[in-house]
């Protein structure tokens, strides 16, 4: 990396870090109820202290981890499948994770939803991976079409589970499905944040391999990377992130498409800058969306998933109309 691009890399990452920090602080400060410094760091337990450490702080961490994770996975799937439309939601991976989580919730085992959703996301990606290989050749086309079919099938399955579930749980299930951060617990938020962080660090170490894979399977092979094996490893990492984020916050769509596309406008397609920028961008966007969602018609909440869809879908259609793939 030359001097110019290194400087640009640093500038962009600094800007991303600043935006993220501001959004994070905003999410902590804004909201119903007054919370002062003494509440946050004071020794005695006050209502403010409980609100801050049990509600607002975990919620901000969850929003950041979920947004960052989804943007990261979106970028990685788009590169490894070389398709601008690739996204955990479009491929049905999120739907699979949702089936797992909804099943756990409907059965009254909310604590199991992480395990359930990660496993079902992984099963979905492994299935798609199998479908995508036609006679040993990887077909992005097949993968995306299979993803569409899987999404419909699994959405139907989710619907059936919701219908059959105990009516007292139905409203909560539906709200969760629309995507939001209102039913969090500290432990699972911590697990989600730590694992998203681990996957992000691993992907950063593999940034040059991601560049190579983004050039095409044959080109990657020529440069000494075995594309199928590496793609499967990426799928595993992606399934972990998608499973955790969906179990944490339900269906938050379009972050995985919106953020990487905007990030590429600034930093181009190489992953060294793209990945951290997506992480910061996804976290920032989701933090802002969640802060807005819980304050604008307070004390009621708008599901964050609706907000990101309202923002993301028109942008996505605009990109599609301009015909600018990446």
């Amino acid at each position: 990396m030359g001097g110019d691009s290194l400087a640009r890399h640093r500038t962009l990452l600094s800007a991303g870090a600043v935006a993220f920090s501001l959004a994070f602080m905003l999410a902590l400060v804004v909201g119903s109820g007054q919370i002062g410094w003494s509440d946050i760091f004071g020794a005695e337990s006050t209502l403010g202290k409980t609100m801050f450490w049990k509600l607002r702080f975990p919620r901000a961490v969850a929003a950041a981890a979920v947004g960052g994770g989804l943007a990261l996975v979106g970028a990685v799937l788009q590169s490894s499948l070389r398709n601008p439309l690739a996204d955990p939601f479009l491929l049905g991976v999120s739907s699979a994770a949702a089936v797992g989580a909804v099943l756990a919730l409907a059965l009254g085992w909310p604590g199991m939803r992480f395990g359930f959703s990660v496993i079902s996301a992984l099963l979905c990606l492994l299935f798609l991976d199998k479908v995508a290989y036609r006679r040993g050749v990887f077909s992005t086309h097949n993968l995306l079409l299979a993803g569409v079919a899987v999404t419909y099938l699994l959405s139907a399955a989710t619907g059936v589970i919701v219908l059959l579930a105990d009516p007292t749980r139905t409203r909560g299930l539906l709200f969760w499905l629309m995507g939001g951060f209102s039913m969090l617990d500290t432990t699972s938020t911590a697990i989600c944040a730590v694992l998203v962080g681990v996957v992000a660090i691993w992907m950063q170490f593999e940034h040059d391999k991601l560049d190579t894979l983004a050039l095409g399977d044959e080109s990657a092979h020529i440069l000494g990377l075995r594309p199928n094996r590496f793609r499967r490893t990426l799928f595993l990492a992606s399934a972990i992130v998608v499973g955790l984020t969906v179990a944490t916050a339900g269906g938050i769509g379009f972050v995985g498409i919106l953020v990487p596309h905007i990030a590429r406008l600034f930093c181009g397609v190489t992953h060294r800058t793209l990945l951290p920028l997506c992480l910061f961008g996804g976290a920032t966007l989701t933090l802002l969306a969640d802060t807005f969602a819980r304050t604008v018609i307070s004390p009621r909440e708008i599901p964050v998933g609706l907000l990101t869809a309202l923002l993301g879908a028109p942008f996505f259609l605009h990109q599609l109309r301009r015909g600018k793939g990446f």
């Binding site: 990396m1 030359g2 691009s5 788009q78 590169s79 070389r82 006679r135 040993g136 040059d208 560049d211 190579t212 983004a214 050039l215 095409g216 399977d217 044959e218 080109s219 092979h221 020529i222 440069l223 000494g224 990377l225 075995r226 181009g268 397609v269 190489t270 060294r272 793939g325 990446f326």
Partner: protein
Amino acid sequence: MSFQLRGVTVRRQGQKVLSTIDHGFESGLVSGVVGPNGSGKSSLLRTLYGYLEVDEGSVILEDRELTRWNPRELASRLGVCPQESEPSLDFRIDQVLALPLGGDLSTMKEQSARLDFLRLETLYDRTLSQLSGGERQRVRLGMALMKEAPWLILDEPINHLDLATGWSLMRYLQKPREGGVLLALHDLTTAAHYCQNLLVLRDGEKVAAGPPREVLTPELLKTVFRLDAKIEWSTEPPGLKVLGVEVG
């Protein structure tokens, strides 16, 4: 040192694209693979760089079976230019050219200066989607030649190139190197002039092999290429003239 195919059969989608090919490419030579469309030229090269898996037989590079090479090590021994670009992300050209060197832009610029006939520096600031067919070919060749790998495998290297660039490339390939140069070519005149050895394929089978003057006969042109032609050899370039062509 050599690059050997031993009884190699490759099937794709149930069809044989190469059948029991025995052939050795020697180091120090420019070898051409020729044959009509669909005869298996590209499949043969792809088998040599391991992108197509062998169903029967084996490929041996420098006394080691291809499958036993570490992928990175293999990539440093082979400089490969595939025939077409695949759909990919819209990289900037300097980034693409640096990929074979692990992203090292300064070494990439030194190497580009060495490969001056490709005029790569004029493309640095553009992206893949902004290039013409010929410019893309220059980038693919640049990537293949970037590492100074001992063996070069180039599939239709002068396709899309203007004449001056194409001839400069073919002259560049004549320079002595540790390994050898393997080219798939559809133009027999180019093949005859620039290759010391030819392998002729038809329907995935080896039909003939040897120095161009021995291999390219009117009978072979008729049976393999469906051409009724007279051949005139000269000591001056282009060396071979195919005269009085009638397609039969």
